[in-house]
Structure formats: C-alpha cells, structure tokens
C-alpha cells in the first residue's frame, strides 16, 4: 500500500466516519488511532523519500520532496500528540458543561478534515490546489473556533473567516497572475500551475507580473501566517477557540501558510532580479516581530499572549527566509520545527492550567506548581524554551538567525534584539507568578494528558543539544532547495 495515499485517506475517511459515530464513547480513541495511522503513514513516506528521493503521486498533481516531507512529518506528529492531549481535555470541558456531545462530534470530525487539508496543501504540486486546500483549512476550523458559542468566540470566528477569506482572495489573485505569467511560457496546458514545471522555467517568467503576483501571494497567505498588519484574527481565534485548536492553529496552520509562501518565493526569486521577494519578506518579518513584541506586554489573557508570541516567531521566521541562503534557510526551517513543537506544548500546558483554574485571565492563575507540579513545570520549561533560553532548540535557531543577520544585514540586528528582548520581558514577567505563587484550585475529573507536553519539550531539548546527522542532512537539503 502506498504510504502517501494512506496518509491522505486516513484523515479524510475517519473525518467522514466521525461525523456519523462521533458521539460514541470510543470516538476519542478513534480520533487518536486515526492520527496515529496518519503519523505512521507520514513516517513511512518520509523514510521512502529519504531513501529514494522525490516522487510524484496521482499523475503530477502531488509532489513530495525533502522540503515538504519534513513539514508533513512535523504536521502528522503534532496532529497525533494534539489528539492525545484533546482526549481528556475535551472530556473535562464536556463535564464542565461548556460543550455538548454534538459539538464534540463536530470537533473530532473537523479535526481530522483539518489534518487532511493541511497534508493536501503540503504535498500538492499544483499551486491552484494549494490555494483550494488552504481555503478549505480555514473553512474546517471556522466552526471549531466558535465551538463554545459564546459571544466572544463567535466574534473571533467571524473575524477569522472574513479576514482570512479576504486574505486568501488576494492569494487567489496572485495565483491567477502567476498562472498568467506561466502560461506565456508553458502554454495553455494544465501544467502551467504545476510547481515542478514552473521551477524549470522560472528564469523565463515575466518579472513584472511575477513581482505583482508575489506581492498578492505574500499578502494573501501572509494573512494566514499572521504577518502584521493583517494579524488581527490570530489572537482572537487562538484565545476563544478550544485549546487543542489553538495548538494546531499555532503549531501547524501557520507553518503550512508559510510553506505556501516559500514555494512561491522560490519561483519569484528565479524570475525577479535583485532579491525582491526576500527584501519584501524581511520587511514584513521585522515589522511583525516588533508589533507582536510590543503587543505582548499588554495582554491579560494567557492564550492571547501566547498567540502574540506565535506572531512574533512567525515574523522572525519570515525574516530568516527573507535573508535567504543556505544558513538562514536552515535556521528558518529549524526555528519552524522548534516553534511548532514548543508552542503546541505550551498550549497543552496552558489548556490544563486554564481548566484547573477555570479562567484564562493571567492575574487569576496562580501557583500552578502547587496544583499540579507537572503542568507547572511544563509551562515554565515551555516558556523558557520559546523565549530562546539555552539549552533548548529555539536558542540554536534564534542564535543562527541573529548571527547571520549580524554578518549580512547588520542594520536589522538592533531591531531583532529589541523585539526579542521586549518579548522576553513581557512573557517571563507574566508566566513566573502564574507558575509560582499561592492558590486554592481543585482537582479535575479527568487526569490531564501530560505526556505530549514533555514529549515535545524533550525533543526540543534534544535538538538544542544535539541534532542527529540525518536530520542535519535533511535540513540542509531542504534549505538548499529554497535557494
């Protein structure tokens, strides 16, 4: 059996199945088993790609190479751990009366379909299908953000839908322009949107059209990445949706949107002289980093604060890819991995913490280390990791980005340091009293799933101390593909 087909079929079929049987007692287990199946298929696919090199699937419509297989493995892994985390979490929510059975069914079914759309977006070779899958990823998560049906969650979902809808419409215009440029070279066949064909002729694409196209694509997909000034939907959606949804939105969806930009950047770089695309991304990235850092200190809601932290890191990663070259791309990819793992671990810990204390307001969350030492330490270590403290992996990637910027773009270094410093002060000052301090909270009916938190943090710690040689090779190859 083909691993690739399995990987796409499992979430699609189980998503459909869960709409029917999603209210059964064993449905959460089915959700986990399906995610495990997807993950195993992704691992199988990864092994196959590493051994045999890039391959196509379904004619030339899907294409897996060392760049996207890396995102596929990451997505499937975080998808699995989030489904494990969401089991007891959602049961607790139901017991608190915040969710009913039909909504839990909706959650599980949409969760699997969301995984499907992301995996399809990552593996497609057709830039049109990429757009379709990105839009579908928004559609599957809109109803998840409004799962609690509170006024605030409905507002967040509405904002999410409209802002991302408008953004993605810009991306469609960018795609149309790209097709227009490609059609002049490749002719009116269905091949003119296939990335593997475009990459061969990227030098012949009309630079003016490509420049305009890339601007639209960057703004469009950038809305989903959370690039300022189009980031407004992101903190709301993260704060008001259920925590597992925040974890996958932050850890995975942002990555997938950034991946879409990267694919387009490779084409734009080939067509436009003078690193136009890179400069644009550097500008957007730095601006995003600064805006997010200064908004961080004003946050009162813990999930909102970490959502802004995601925006900050996305800005940093966009900046890294904007610099380009093997080193910066390597650092960008590494940082994407670290951010995904760390941020989802933080959201897991935050989810349990808010459930224990019954609030998302940071001033009311105190003394986590007494309520449950594991959650307390999980949040503390996760926060230290995301703030770039050694020996965690985020330190390594941030250090690489900083030193590379110092060498090649010295003017950007003060801005980067300012952003990172402000973010550090804001987050650390708020998390510290949440973890330590006095409290009187009670036990939860369902014991939280702590394993995913420490599994993620363990990997981040390991990658900070030692990156296995095959992973380095893999990162290098992917970084080289990005030019």
């Amino acid at each position: 059996m083909d691993f690739f087909v399995l990987m796409l079929a499992i979430p699609l079929v189980s998503g459909a199945l869960l709409t029917v049987v999603g209210e059964r007692a064993w449905a959460p287990n089915l959700n986990i088993i399906a995610s495990l199946g997807t993950f195993l298929a992704a691992v199988g696919l990864t092994v196959e790609i590493v051994a045999n090199g890039p391959r196509f699937a379904f004619g030339e419509q899907f294409f897996i190479d060392s760049l996207n297989v890396f995102f596929v493995a990451l997505t499937a892994f975080v998808g699995l751990t989030t489904s494990i985390f969401s089991g007891p979490y959602m049961k607790n929510e139901a017991e608190h009366g915040r969710l009913t059975m039909p909504r839990l069914r909706l959650y599980k079914s949409m969760y699997q379909l969301f995984m499907f759309t992301m995996l399809a977006a990552l593996t497609t070779n057709n830039l049109g299908i990429l757009w379709v899958a990105m839009e579908a990823a928004t559609l599957t998560t809109v109803l998840l953000v409004s799962l609690y049906r509170t006024p605030a969650s409905l507002e967040a979902a509405w904002k999410y839908f409209i802002l991302c809808g408008v953004g993605i419409a810009q991306a469609l215009f960018g795609t149309i322009l790209l097709y227009f440029a490609a059609e002049r070279v490749l002719g009116e066949s269905g091949n003119a949107l296939l990335w593997t064909h475009l990459i061969d002729v990227k030098g012949q694409l009309e630079p003016n059209i490509m420049a305009l196209s890339f601007i639209f694509l960057l703004v469009g997909y950038g809305t989903k990445v959370g690039l300022a000034p189009l980031h407004n939907w992101l903190p709301d959606a993260h704060a008001e949706g259920p925590t597992p949804v925040s974890a996958v939105l932050s850890g995975l969806l942002l990555n997938v949107a950034l991946y879409a930009i990267l694919r387009c950047k490779v084409l734009a770089d080939g067509a436009i002289p003078g690193a136009f695309a890179g400069k644009l991304m550097m500008g957007f990235g730095l601006f995003t980093l600064l805006v997010a850092a200064f908004f961080l200190s004003r946050q009162k809601d813990v999930k909102r604060m970490f959502a802004y932290s995601s925006i900050e890191h996305m800005g940093l990663i966009t900046f890294a890819f904007g610099m380009g070259g093997p080193v910066a791309n390597f650092a960008g990819l590494l940082h994407m991995t670290m951010h995904s793992l760390t941020k989802s671990a933080i959201f897991f810990a935050v989810g349990h913490a808010t459930q224990k204390t019954g609030t998302q307001l940071m001033e009311n969350i105190r003394g986590l280390i007494r309520i449950n030492p594991l959650i307390g330490w999980g949040l503390m270590l996760g926060t230290l990791a995301i703030l770039g403290m050694p020996p965690f992996g985020v330190f390594a990637s941030e250090f690489m980005i900083l030193t590379h910027a110092m060498k090649h773009y010295p003017w950007a270094t003060p801005v980067l340091l300012l952003g990172l410093g402000v973010a550090f002060a804001a987050i650390f000052g708020k998390v510290q009293p949440m973890v330590f301090g006095e409290t009187e909270a009670k036990r939860l009916p369902h014991a939280p799933a702590i394993t995913p938190v420490f599994l993620h943090l363990g990997i981040v710690l390991m990658l900070g101390l030692y990156i296995p040689p095959y992973l380095t090779r893999w990162f290098h190859e992917a970084a080289r593909m990005l030019g």
Partner: protein
C-alpha cells in the same frame, strides 16, 4: 483603433463594464434582498462574458466554467442567501459605516488605481479579453470596499462573493480561465464556505439577537 477590436472582444468588454456598473450598484444599494439580486445579476453577466469568450476561442473548459458560474453564482448561492434572509428575518436597510456618496467617490478612486496597476500587465496579455483585467481588479477592490463599509454580516458575505466574481473575471480575462481542477476546487470551497456561513449566521443571531456586526467589537487589545 476601435475598428481593430473584433466584435466578440467588444461584447466581452461590454459585459465587463456591466459587471463593474453592477459592483457600483451593489455599493450604493441599501436593501439586502435587492443586493442579493444584484449579485445574481453580476454572476449572470460574468457567465455571459465567459460564454462569449468560450464561443470565440473554442476553449471547451470555458463552457464548463460558464456552466459552473451559472449554477453556483446565479442559482444556488442567491437561493441560499434568499432563504437565509427570510429565515433570519433580516429586515430594513443595510447600514453603511460611511455614507453612500462618500463610498462611491472612494470607489472611483479605487477604479483608477486598479486600472493603473493592471495596465502594464494587460499589455503583455495576448487574449482577446485582456482589456478587462483592469475592470476585474476594480471589481475586486470595490467588493473589498463594500466589505469594509457595511455593518450587516450578510452584506459582508455578498461582498466576499462579489470579490470572487471579480477574481473569476480576472482569470477569464487574463488567461481564459484556470485549469478545470482548480476551478472546481474553488467552486467547492465557495459553496462549502457559504453553507458554513449559513450555520454560522444562526449561531450569531442566537447569541446577539441580530446580524449587525457592531455587536461584535468586544475583542480588543485593551
């Protein structure tokens, strides 16, 4: 110069101009039901423009594209929206944030910007419909303006769909349409999106007793 433009191209330009006029009409329209009808009319004009392009060029997939536009944007979506309006009892006027004459003036400025942006690109195009690229971009921008200036959730959705119309016009005018599989995917996304929004409207109304989005301004950064 005018004599050099073939009849079919003139016809497409005419339809494109009608689409742009309809975009302005939507911007000026105060009533929700009339707005939906205008949207259906815009879809019909887009369908006709695509059809003319299909007949002239003999590109078979343009026929499918026209058929898709007809079913989705002229029949299904307006029908869903009409039902929603009836079921949700959306009454009265669409409230604009900025008054209508000012909006129209802003619209005119947007059209000029759109034409300037599109000019260098449409010169590179070899399709008979290339002149309409500027119009398409203008329609997208006008729809965007409508989304910004309107208060009711349904109006914002109509604006969103009208933006999609503009994008399809751009696809037809610059390149004779996207590959079929992509167009089908986009159509599916739009359809699913509207259905999800329908569900969503009921949730909003149950919470706020209104579809007016100025109730939804609580989430702010202090």
């Amino acid at each position: 110069m005018n004599s050099a433009i073939p009849f079919s191209a003139q016809l497409i330009n005419l339809f494109a101009a009608v689409i742009l006029l309809l975009a302005f009409a939507m911007l000026a329209q105060r009533r929700v039901l009339a707005l939906i009808n205008l949207f259906a009319l815009q879809g019909l004009t887009l369908c006709l423009a695509t059809l003319v392009a299909a007949v002239t060029t003999g590109q078979s997939h343009l026929y499918y594209s026209a058929g898709l536009t007809l079913t989705l944007k002229v029949l299904v979506l307006p029908w869903i929206l009409h039902r929603l309006v009836r079921k949700l009892n959306v009454k009265g006027e669409v409230e604009a944030l900025i008054n209508i004459p000012t909006t129209m003036l802003a619209g005119i400025v947007l059209v000029m910007i759109a034409f300037n942006v599109a000019l260098p690109i449409s010169e590179l195009s070899h399709t008979i419909t290339r002149g309409t690229l500027g119009i398409a971009l203008a329609v997208v921008m006008l729809a965007f303006l409508m989304m910004i200036t309107r208060q009711k959730a349904i109006t914002q959705v109509v604006g969103f769909l009208s933006m999609e119309n503009g994008l399809f016009l751009a696809a037809t005018s610059a390149t004779y349409g996207m590959p079929m599989v992509v167009e089908l995917g986009i159509a599916l996304d739009v359809l699913v999106g509207v259905i999800i929004l329908g569900v969503f409207f009921f949730q909003i109304r149950d919470q706020f007793d209104s579809l007016d989005i100025h109730h939804m301004e609580r989430l702010k950064d202090n």
